[in-house]
Amino acid sequence: MVHWTDEERQAITSIWAEVNVEEAGHQALTRVLVVYPWTQRYFSTFGNVSNATAIAGNHMVRAHGKRVVVALGDAIKNLDNVKATYAKLSELHSEKLHVDPENFKLLGETLIISLAAQFGAAFTPDIQAAWQKLMAVVTAALSKQYY
């Protein structure tokens, strides 16, 4: 089981309270598709995702980004049991979506960078560290059902 300090929980929930889920999801997913263009392989049914402008304006990308960050909210509500919370999602990503787990890391990184853009200096090193830990826990949980 993951051990969270009170400060870490606080760092996560206080930032989360200020996050606009749709916007953060859109930002993070747009960044993944632009910064790591090979990830576009998973979105061939989304229409035009071939350049930064198209990606940023693509409403399927926006909807999907929102979905992902809404799911992150489930992890945040269940910090003491992220693995169980994500068991079905992990199976889905492995068996149906066939997503390379490396991509969980990439999205984790771009989400952190999106949060830094939104919060500026208020996204302190300690707060960043708590969120990096959360991203690592989420990545591990989503990778758990792969075999």
Binding site: V35, A56, T110, A116, G120, P125, Q128, A129
Partner: protein, 143 residues
């Protein structure tokens, strides 16, 4: 992986914009590195103060970003401009190259925090590529 003309334009534009606060951003990035990835502190065991607010950490971060700035001014030949630093890292410092990626990440976070919405996905892409090139040049002579 190489930089397009547009990438170079964006990299230089951002550098020009942030260079007045380069020291502060560099210090911030190194401070984040030692907090978020505490294993990196082993390279600074000779510093008296290993907290993110440490003057030594801030000064060293400033120095690192300064060197990156030099690479920006020679963006068409990063390898030549970082040649001495490449030797230093290979033969003296021998920092494990995995750490270049970690610092690249915290530098992107610091840039993002400093620029906010101006740190667009395209700019993020250009700087991510650039820092990867810098990392490759610094590890070039390791073996």
């Amino acid at each position: 992986m190489s930089l397009s003309a547009h990438d170079k334009e964006l990299i230089v534009k951002v550098w020009t914009k942030i260079s007045p606060k380069a020291a502060q951003i560099g210090g911030d990035a190194l401070g984040r590195l030692i907090v978020v990835f505490p294993q990196t502190k082993i390279y600074f065991s000779h510093f008296a103060d290993l907290s993110p607010s440490s003057p030594q950490i801030k000064a060293h971060g400033a120095k690192v970003l300064g060197a990156i700035g030099e690479a920006v001014s020679s963006i068409d030949n990063v390898s030549a401009s970082l040649s001495k630093l490449s030797e230093l890292h290979a033969y003296n410092l021998r920092v494990d190259p995995v750490n270049f990626k970690l610092l690249a990440h915290t530098l992107l976070v610091s840039l993002s925090a400093a620029l906010g919405a101006e740190f667009t996905p395209e700019i993020h892409l250009a700087w991510d590529k650039f820092l990867a090139i810098v990392a490759a040049v610094l590890s070039e002579k390791y073996r």
